[in-house]
């Protein structure tokens, strides 16, 4: 594994319900990322289909073995790139059980997937109406380091990121479809999740407007001490190249020893009190 890897934060506006157009855009940007020396291209939550789908999600969801993932696998093989993107994933064993999923693909094909654990169902969000919650954090050992996948609203729940970190994640990747009125929360929380876990955090948000809902972009790479190392434009599409240097993890862990100071007994209490809430 290399100490340093170059990432491309591909802050796109997805064309809603138009997988072909979105796949084409993903392909173009992945090739561009490759040309610029990046090894990993990251796309937003539900970038395959757009985010505001309502009942159309039943038509657009496809299994992880479906044609879109196959197309992405071919792209990753051809370009020798790693790609992370979001899609509505149809569960293989059912006809209409869908997950909000982040998929990671490498030059040798599918590496894995993460099914969003925290589904926002308040304000303008109606994810529980359509999606089943995931049950497991997901961390994958890759040629680019240990990568932990998370999605959007998960960022409000430190335990998701902590679990990923404890499972070995060095780079936390949070793909997102966050509307503009929530920008300040995400700017605070992404930095907090990176800092408290002393891990890199790549946050990639949608841009553009879907059904009047405006996504704020602002994708970023946070250092293990919570510093913004690179940042995309607000509100519009952007392509941001940045670099992760894993040697910084040791420095950060030593300087802010949150992992050393973890107290497992508190997690028992957390569980206990959560059940009483």
């Amino acid at each position: 594994m290399k100490d340093k890897i170059k990432l491309a934060l591909c802050q796109i506006s997805s064309k809603r319900e138009n997988k072909a157009a979105n796949l084409q855009k993903i392909e173009e940007l992945t090739k561009r990322a490759k040309q610029k020396g990046a090894a990993l291209a990251i796309f937003p939550e539900m970038s395959l289909t757009g985010y505001v789908l309502h009942d159309q999600v039943y038509e657009l969801a496809e299994p992880i073995t479906g044609s879109s993932v196959q197309q992405m696998e071919n792209l990753a093989k051809k370009t020798k790139m790693h790609i992370i993107f979001g899609m509505p994933e149809l569960c293989e064993n059912t006809k209409a059980t869908i997950y909000n999923t982040s998929v990671i693909i490498g030059p040798r094909g599918l590496i894995g997937k993460y099914r969003k654990m925290y589904l926002p169902t308040h304000s303008v969000f109606e994810e529980k109406r359509y999606f089943r919650s995931g049950h497991e954090p997901a961390v994958f050992q890759t040629d680019l380091g240990n990568i932990g996948l998370t999605i959007c609203y998960d960022v409000f729940f430190p335990e998701v990121f902590r679990l990923s970190r404890l499972k070995g994640a060095q780079l936390l990747v949070c793909i997102s479809a966050s509307p503009a009125v929530r920008r300040s929360y995400f700017e605070i929380l992404t930095a907090a999740r990176a800092l408290e876990n002393t891990a890199y955090l790549a946050y990639v948000n949608l841009s553009g407007v879907e059904d009047g809902l405006q996504f704020w972009g602002g994708s970023r790479l946070l250092s293990p001490t919570g510093d913004v190392l690179a940042k995309g434009k607000y509100d519009e599409e952007d392509f941001v190249l940045c670099e992760v240097d894993y040697t910084d993890l040791r420095t950060a862990e030593a300087f802010i020893p949150t992992l050393r100071d973890l107290r497992a007994e508190l997690f028992e209490k957390l569980k206990q009190y959560s059940e009483l809430l």
């Binding site: 064309k15 009942d55 159309q56 109606e126 407007v209 059904d211 509100d235």
Partner: protein
Amino acid sequence: MKLTPNVLDMDFSTVEKRVCRFIKEYVEKAGAQGIVLGLSGGVDSATAAALSSKAIGGKNVLALMLPEKETFKRKDIEDAQTIADQFQLETQTIDMTDVLKSFYQRIPAFDPVDRLCKGNIKARTRMILLYFYANKQNRIVCGTSDKSETMMGYFTKWGDAAADIAPIIDLYKLQVRKLACHLGISEELALKPSTPALWPNQLAESELEINYETLDLILYGLERFMKSKEIANQLDLDLTIVDKIKKRWISNEHKRRMPLPAKLGFRTVGNDFRLPRHTY
């Protein structure tokens, strides 16, 4: 949370940018040739017109000026024309007097003393004219309702609330006034007392029986899930005033929705049939 006037402060540059993007994106995705809106000479329509102009260019925005004899005020027409000139809008003036007269004469149950029924005919006639131009010229109708009047149900069902987009519907009246100034609209027009112009000398604040400075803070508190008592205490108001506003807000929800559907099928229009507005 402290309910002080500054809770209504916003970064109006960001608001302008977001609303303009919202308008531009919708017009493009709808495949429309432009926008049509009613320009009354009041702050709401002036602000919606200014934003539309900034979003898609004034030449693509048709402002209808729709005077009628009973509520005619030269000052309103002058103010509307000032906005049209300032933001380089296309304009069309249609005197509604004869159209309205025909309506009145041909409705057997028409009662000139019943000003609400009569006034609502005016609001709905304006809507008909706006949608005529929308159909004829492939435009979308830009609504000009603000959050204060919409929450209060202070509008005509299928009249002034009928539109394809509502760019300022999430801004309270005081915020619209500030946005208007930010957009370069004169302070005189921005602070002009609001009227739906359904009958002579009609004033919004008199009819609502509260000034916007107080109303907007009450509504802001309700929006933020505050309880009536807490709002009344903070604003030093009688609880009955806040409760009255709250009741009016809730009881007017029917005006803000599609017709109540009788649920019979699997998925029902206006209920659990949930589809995106447009497929692109």
